[in-house]
Point group: C3
Chain length 102, copies 3
């Protein structure tokens, strides 16, 4: 069996990494450097909403993960954990989880 | 059921994001900033063809997407659409689509 | 059938690209530019081990690939090959391979 877990929003990510708050802070700072929110005028997509940078950040972090399930459990390495990364922050958000195979 | 959709070329991407031309322009500009084509001499891979930057751009945007199928339809969030991103531009291109599960 | 191939370590990647040593050198240089190791003090995660940059590099290159299997073989484009990318370098490493479907 495998599990597909994906964001249903194009300014958000589902990714696998370490459950460590310092690292998550580092991701925020790093993503802001690679895809800065300001100046909002640098992006053509910024009409109506100023979230073009969130669409960039999500591409770096990824939309989805696919994880093996073995003996009824997510078959993870020691430090692997699934996270939902939100780069825009508006609206209610949904995650899709689908399990297939035998 | 899930659908796997992937590029079969290593300088191209299949990705999911918004169907909005301003955003696609923003991606072009942004990717060129993160992985510039020029100067071509900065990449060792640029022998024969000068497309090393396309191999970088493709890693940021991703090779493939895996999408849940529910009731016979791609189970998408409101704005999710699948795109083929071409960063080199030579040759005919192919996409692989595979559907598995019940 | 599809094959899932993923790193089980959060500072490593499984990715698909060209089997060309110049390109792999280019990836090293490029990733170091996007997520520099030094100065290690720039990352909060760098307590105990100084590998925060490896967690960034892995997000760009990706954790996993999902590949179609057709007639018993990986259904690859001409130049597609699977690689394990190691960005930290400590400890023994494991890769998970899971094949599902008919």
């Amino acid at each position: 069996m495998i599990a597909l877990v994906n964001a249903m929003h194009i300014t958000a990510s589902v990714f696998i990494n370490d459950d460590e708050s310092g690292l998550h802070h580092d991701y925020d700072v790093w993503l802001e450097k690679l895809a800065p929110h300001e100046p909002v005028s640098q992006y053509r997509h910024n009409v109506g909403e100023d979230n073009a940078d969130a669409h960039m950040k999500r591409q770096i972090m990824g939309r989805e993960v696919v994880v093996a399930i073995t003996d009824g459990r997510l078959d993870f390495g020691t430090w692997e954990r699934i996270f939902y990364g939100e780069f825009d922050g508006r609206r209610k958000k949904r995650v899709l989880v689908k399990i297939i195979g035998e």
